[in-house]
Amino acid sequence: MTVAVEGVGTPPRNREIADIHFIGSRILIYLSTLLAVSIIGFPLLWMLICSFKPSDELYAVPPDFLPRQWTLQNYSDLFLQTNFPTYFANSLIVAGGATLLSLAVGGLGAYSLSRFRFFGMAAFADAVLVSYMLPEVLIVLPLYIYVVKLGLADTLIALIISNTAFTLPLTLWFMRAYFNAIPASLEESAMVEGCTRLKAMMRVTVPLALPGIVSVGVFTFNQAWNEYLFALIFISSERNKTLPLGLANWIGRDTIYSWGMLLAGAVMVTIPVIVFYLLVQRRLIVGLAEGGAKGD
């Protein structure tokens, strides 16, 4: 545990014992980290490796760890023989649409929640948290009635709007925290210099909150990109399926679709998520560093 600097201040005769103790604990740390990382990382590594195996190797018993013959066949099958590109495009539209809607609506709302204290706003903030925690299966029943009634069944619009039921509370909650961290005095001094409140918000606060906006956008996008239940219930036609729905329908039909194609699909669905997080990670660090340099 926390024994890293135990050697400091110990009498000389205990020095050697402390050193052995220190080295021992180092080895323990590295070994347990290695063990944890291998177990946790293995499924994803296995997914990646197997997506490059030809189909006879995927069904080999016992399997080889690395493919004897690396192939891109699974990926080309995925794009040429299935509706994967359609699913991908639909998922981009749904996740992108829900993100834009949540950021536009929720960004404004979060600003209001952060800067003003008028009647009902504290209660509204609580309601936001509750609505984020509502079970999806509870909301989906009435939404299904509305979607059918409004003739929106099997449309991407229905998915974009219903995804907002959870991405909007997320945006409101996180953006409020980001706005809270930006001192209102910055806006006030802009207002003293003649800006209106709205102008001060757009010119001072929004640029400062940009790293926050980007990272909330990524969270929101990821949530909608992942969403399965709404798609399962609202979407029926092949041309409107999103990635989670499309891929899930292939599982269990492994006689028709090979595991290779499924695993290649899984890799392709994961790539945008990884790329986005790498993007945000850098933005987040830059944002934090800037905030620290400017001080409170």
Partner: protein, 299 residues
């Protein structure tokens, strides 16, 4: 902030409410009205696809609490939540303590450990279902090789094993949340406390129980509660792994709501089950709010 009574206040109020209005409207539309609608639906005998049916009072609720399937789902939900959350929190604490040490490649280790939480659920399910395949699945192959098991296990097809398997996959997918939450609070512990304890001759075990644990406890409990709430109404990972089977062994309450509504087309009864689920959840939410208020008051 605006001064009371000034003309600026009226302008601020207008701005405050107009900027909030679109959010309020959408949330009302997507959370508020639906929640009320479920109450109405639950008192009707209505099939899926129809928007209303004859009023039956509390019949759907009475049906639910007498229905063996509901009790099975309630018990399964308890096992699923308890098993998942306990393992996630213990694993989360252990790995957070590990990642709190400084060592080479710590950033890389953290990225690998965080990865399962970031990937889409359907990806996790696909990968694990391939690994758990009775014959070609790598997990059975490895365990047979190591002589831990003597014959291939039917991870998802045996009623006695399926819940364990789903919990295992769920823990793998969601425990990084606990790691990140606990790691965050661990890194904010003032190091002087440890130095003082070391001068007093406290062992690292004592330091953990006297300094680390009391310091992180509020965040630990809050994280545990959040995980409990989310695990409680989780639908997709269970449904995609097993569809609630085999023989209802993994049918939790959210899965039951779905099956009632979209397999049996009994919409009213599904709504009643959803509301009973929500009632249990409401208790958890109430505790969550009390804890949050306490934490805010302490700051």
């Amino acid at each position: 902030m605006a001064k009371p009574g000034s003309a600026a206040l009226a302008g601020d109020r207008l701005l405050a409410y107009t900027t909030l209005a679109p959010s309020a409207f959408l949330l009302l539309l997507l959370s508020g009205v639906p929640t009320i609608t479920v109450f109405v639906t639950a008192t009707q005998s209505v099939s899926t696809g129809d928007s209303s049916g004859p009023f039956v009072g509390l019949d759907n609720f009475l049906w639910a609490i007498r229905e063996p399937m509901f009790l099975t789902a309630l018990w399964n939900t308890f096992v699923w939540v308890f098993g998942s959350v306990v393992i996630e929190m213990l694993l989360g604490l252990g790995l957070a303590l590990l990642l709190n040490q400084s060592f080479k490649l710590r950033g890389a280790a953290r990225a690998v450990i965080l990865a399962p939480y970031l990937i889409p659920t359907v990806v996790a399910v696909l990968t694990w279902r391939y690994m758990l395949h009775d014959i070609v699945g790598i997990l059975n192959v490895i365990l047979l090789d190591l002589h831990i098991i003597s014959h291939p296990l039917l991870w998802l097809n045996s009623p006695s094993l399926a819940m364990f398997t789903v919990i295992m996959v769920g823990v793998w997918k969601f425990f990084p949340f606990a790691v990140i939450a606990i790691l965050g609070i661990l890194q904010s512990i003032p190091q002087e406390q440890y130095e003082a304890a070391r001068i007093d001759g406290a062992s690292s075990f004592q330091q953990f129980w006297r300094i680390t644990m009391p310091y992180i406890l509020p965040v630990f409990l809050l994280t545990m509660l959040l995980r409990t709430i989310w695990t409680f109404h989780k639908f997709d990972i269970i449904y995609l792994m097993t569809g609630g089977g085999p023989l209802d062994a993994t049918t939790t309450l959210p899965v039951l709501v779905y099956l009632k509504a979209f397999d049996d087309f009994e919409f009213g009864r599904a709504a009643a089950v959803a509301l009973l689920t929500f009632a249990i959840l409401a208790v958890l939410l109430a505790i969550y709010f009390v804890l949050i208020r306490k934490a805010e008051a302490r700051q």
